[in-house]
Amino acid sequence: MKNRLKVLRAERDWTQAQLAERLEVSRQTVNAIEKGKFDPSLPLAFKAARLFGMAIEDIFQDEAAA
């Protein structure tokens, strides 16, 4: 699954640690999601969507469907 988390974070000048604190996860988790090594659960994806004020599909895209 691809995602735009790194771009959205960079647009807001947030560090991984700041985003992690906001999402209530570890910095390692944010890093793993950004690198595509770990797919977040639906609740975490919704949390990220709420944080950035976007729809989930605008942040996370299914690579198979792309």
Binding site: E21, R22, V25
Partner: protein, 140 residues
């Protein structure tokens, strides 16, 4: 700069507190275990009652350690939980396979020494530690 409303002392601080709590309970359990094993004959010469009380304290701190570990796990985020799950699966598998093989070696007298439970505990501890390190490396 667009600062996120990060709450100091939030999830990360709670996580650190849970880890510290687990360390305290584990330390207490190890200390009472050592006292129960080495106390009779070294710290006190006789008295089954004292030994029984220390053993009771050991079981009680063991229960505390289990509850603290559960609290620690529940406080982790989803990636950390996955790392823990994979490490515990590895630990359980290695413990079961190596434990049975070790026991069979002892029963069939293929090893010249006693198969002690402490050997298995050390193996499982090291396997769990290796599993955690591998997990962190995998999702780095």
């Amino acid at each position: 700069m667009n600062e996120p409303n990060a709450k100091p002392g939030g999830w990360a601080a709670a996580n650190a507190r849970n880890t510290l709590l687990l360390a305290y309970w584990t330390g207490a359990w190890v200390a009472t275990q050592a006292l129960a094993v080495f106390g009779p004959g070294r710290l006190w010469s006789s008295g089954q009652t004292l030994t029984a009380l220390v053993l009771l304290a050991n079981v009680a701190t063991g229960v505390g350690m289990i509850l603290a570990f559960r609290r620690h796990l529940n406080g982790l985020d989803e990636l950390q939980k996955r790392i823990q799950l994979e490490a515990m699966a590895l630990c359980l598998g290695v413990g079961l396979v190596a434990g049975m093989a070790f026991s069979t070696l002892y029963v069939t007298k293929l090893i010249p020494f006693d198969a002690k439970i402490s050997h298995l505990v050390i193996l499982m501890g090291l396997t769990y530690l290796a599993g955690i390190l591998l997990g962190h490396r995998k999702y780095q």
